[in-house]
Amino acid sequence: MTFRTSTGGAIDRNTLLHFTFNGQKLSGHPGDTLASALLANGVHEIGSSVKLGRPRGVVAAGSEDPTSLVQIEAPFSEPMLLATTVELYDGLEARGLAGQGRLAALPDPARYDAKHEHCDVLVVGAGPAGLVAALTAARSGARVVLVDEQNQAGGALLGVEEYLDDRPSAEWVADIVAELKSTPGVLVLERTTAFGMYQDGFVLALQKRTDHLGFAAPATVARQRVWRIRTKQTVLATGAHERPVVFADNDRPGIMLASSARTFLHRYGVLPGSRAVVFTTNDSAYCAAIDLAESGVDIALIADARPEAPARLATECAARGIEVRAGQLVTGTEGTSRVTVVHVGGEKIECDTLLVSGGWNPVVSLFSQARGKLRYDAELGAFVPGEELSTVRVAGSATGELDLNACTRQGRDAGAAAAGAAGFASGGQVPLPVSDSRCTARSGLVLWRVPGDEDASFVDLQRDATVSDVLRATGAGLRSLEHIKRYTTIGTAHDQGKTSGMIAAGIVAEALGVELEDQRPTTFRPPYTSVSFAALAGRDRGELHDPVRVTAIHPWHVAHGALFENVGQWKRPWYYPQPGEDLHTAVLRECRATRESVGMMDGSTLGKIDVQGRDAGKFLDMLYTNMMSNLKVGKIRYGVMCGVDGMVIDDGTVIRVGEQRYLVTTTTGNAAKILDWMEEWLQTEWPHLDVHCASVTEHWVTIPLVGPKSRAVLGEVAPDLDVSNEAFEFMTWHDTVVAGVPARVCRISFSGELAYEINVTAWHGLAVWEALMAAGEKYGITPYGTETMHVLRAEKGYPIIGQETDATVTPQDLGMSWAVSKKKPDFIGKRSFARAENNRTDRKQLVGLLPVDPEVLLPEGSQIVETDRLPEPPVRMLGHVTSSYPSAALGRTFALALVRSGHERIGETLYVPVEDTLVPVTVTESVLYDKEGARRDG
């Protein structure tokens, strides 16, 4: 049976759209939503409720609907959409949900993007008030953006059959839209929901650009777009939502808001059922009843909660044979998948539809997000904007004004005021239309609920939260609406309580015996309607999510099978597995080759900062714990930086390039942070210092050449350079030519081996790398990655900032007192070293750990305890394992750890809980390999 009217509505009856719902093949027309098409086919049961599994239908016609959640299956799986906001297209496949959807298993193939827009006046809502506001502002010459969530302008006019100035309201709407669209500097965005309002006129809006095209959506057009609008002035003409009244079994399919039924009739040509009972507290439902009766619906009864029915409307009803009973309440319903009986005043009335109106809630979400204060309007039974803001104005039914003539007047005033505040003089009055509407909703009775079975009286239909739940919350002593919202979950579903929030507040006030005037409504937060993560991500997905930085040698690493690890945004070779190798065997091979012959790695990601100026030495003396100003040109020094609290923040080498020039290196991940740190001190504390800093990280390719044969390899590619130990000492540098390219070679070692660091301009980096590989071939030169680097340095007890340290570790804790100057009068962090806390003997200190069983590899992050059996909790933890590796050089596993009083515990046996066992370990010094430093000079 069809519930489609033969005429009327903004649908194209000549075109059929085929769709599938819950496996059933159905059809609708262009202009339909999924919900209107389902109702036209007599399908009211959409899904079931999230906790109780009760059948649920369609309550409202728009985005305020709490129940009609569906999962779209085709063209692309998308969960938790409202059938009332999904525009129908051919081939649509959807399924009703039992409260929750499921995420697609495949990546969303559609494109999403974002666009910035700047304007003088933003108008949200293209109903009568918004249209007049936008046109008034546009005529003044202001740049105007008008956004509206519907696919056509008109707002509430779309759901009624009203005449403005004696012609159909659609014509009046079309004229205004046409003028707006033809005015330069005016942007009209349909299918666009302003979902967030932030400071300084920043508004986010989601435009659904091709959702409604379904399979026909062009792949080259972004499906949805987030508009990032910055406006001087805003007019909120966001309208009002009808709210229901709560009574027992108020959740059955077929129970619908009266104005929504009217919208389904006038906009989609759909009847909600055959025989309806109307339950109202105000006049507006009478119009719905009369319109539906004239369209052939049998209105069994209007139950008006007020003691007296409105005389004029009652007369109109009588003329149409509609019975009106004043002072009557709906106390319950019957039915399974659809309402079949309504209880009114002890009488059971058979019907298939129950239309409810409990009054109107102004949509104040964006106003509240803009930090506008709300005020309770006792006559309306709703929170309304309670103050004027300098940049945000509210017009139309969003103010609580429900008379159309008054709404358009407000729109005109707000549009003129907004344009004026943005600096635009009036461009002439927009004539206001005169409406023939018979209904106003003011004059209503505020009624939150009808007493009855509280367990079946649903306040939030989506959350399955009942009057019982609210009373349980107040009974437990909760008084604040914010707390009750969280306790009951009312208002936390996809609809954010659009129809339930106000009622919940009313029931709470009744239960507590307080006035709503004294209650603070819950905070409205973005987004106003659901926004997909895909839309928010826009183009920032996959490769475009975050920049990827690669070195000049990267293509070689890829070609030679390197696996990569992410260090900040950098891709660094992790290790270079040969056929059949895993991480473990590859790293053992790389370590052995490097310690026994020669290896090299790509160290280009190391942060490099060029520090220049007359006071550069003085500046670095303040930054580093050790002295830098007395470093001689040509020399290199390792240095540690601390925060003012004395905790290590970074380490690296300092190269003195000239009298007034140093090159500072930082750890890969801290390069930007350390440059910021330098700038902060220079700009805010020592602006008198003549120092300039610049990042030169990407200018240089840096290649550590490491191992006993590194001298021979370097000698071959740098014929001008005397590589002897006497001529080229440890911690010095020389400018020379390497592989025919100007290069700076530093003698630095992060492995304890004889080693050089070859720096060339990035442009020549790959060629020099390949020349070194060729020259080292006869020694079996082995490229190695970060994992081998970590093992080699750990064997020497060299800490890695961020692995051995965590912002609670001092240089002394790391055993680096030697790097802390006693001579300098001050440096950042120095004073903190004298604090009692920093001198406790039970601080956690860096030590080595050797598992008693040399095969056992301790998991990094493991806790360390004192006893071989765990006492009753709480167990005292002595520290944790910071690094742990198998070592080719040591022939066993080893670890570094931060341990309480670690330096005093050397030689002790401690225990590391690993799964169900306690692994005994011996505490050692942190330097485990070549303690005497014999390998440094080759």
Binding site: D645, E679, Q683, D826, R831, A834
Partner: protein, 93 residues
């Protein structure tokens, strides 16, 4: 997204800025002359007023300069911005 008026660049979105805590907390002239408590005050303690608060900002994704701002901590409204080294202007809270 708040607009922050950089005294060098003009109003820019807050995402371009980096927060730097309370302003006008100078690095002590001679830290070694301070008691532990005085030093701890400098290192660890900052004001947390409800109302106007002078604080440091850096236009880190713009001109990269540090400047000072007076912000009402109740509303986030920026009551004044001024360049490093300039005195804090009078603001009406």
């Amino acid at each position: 997204m708040q607009l922050i008026p950089c005294p060098w660049c003009g109003p820019r979105e807050e995402a371009e800025f980096h927060y730097g805590g309370q302003a006008h907390v100078a690095y002590p002239e001679d830290p070694s002359a301070l008691t532990d408590e005085e030093w701890a005050q400098y290192v660890f303690f900052r004001d947390n007023p409800s109302g106007p608060f002078a604080e440091r900002w850096s236009h880190s994704a713009g001109c990269r300069r540090w400047f000072n701002a007076v912000r009402d901590t109740r509303s986030h409204d920026l009551l004044a911005v001024y360049r490093a080294g300039e005195p804090m202007p009078e603001v009406a809270s």
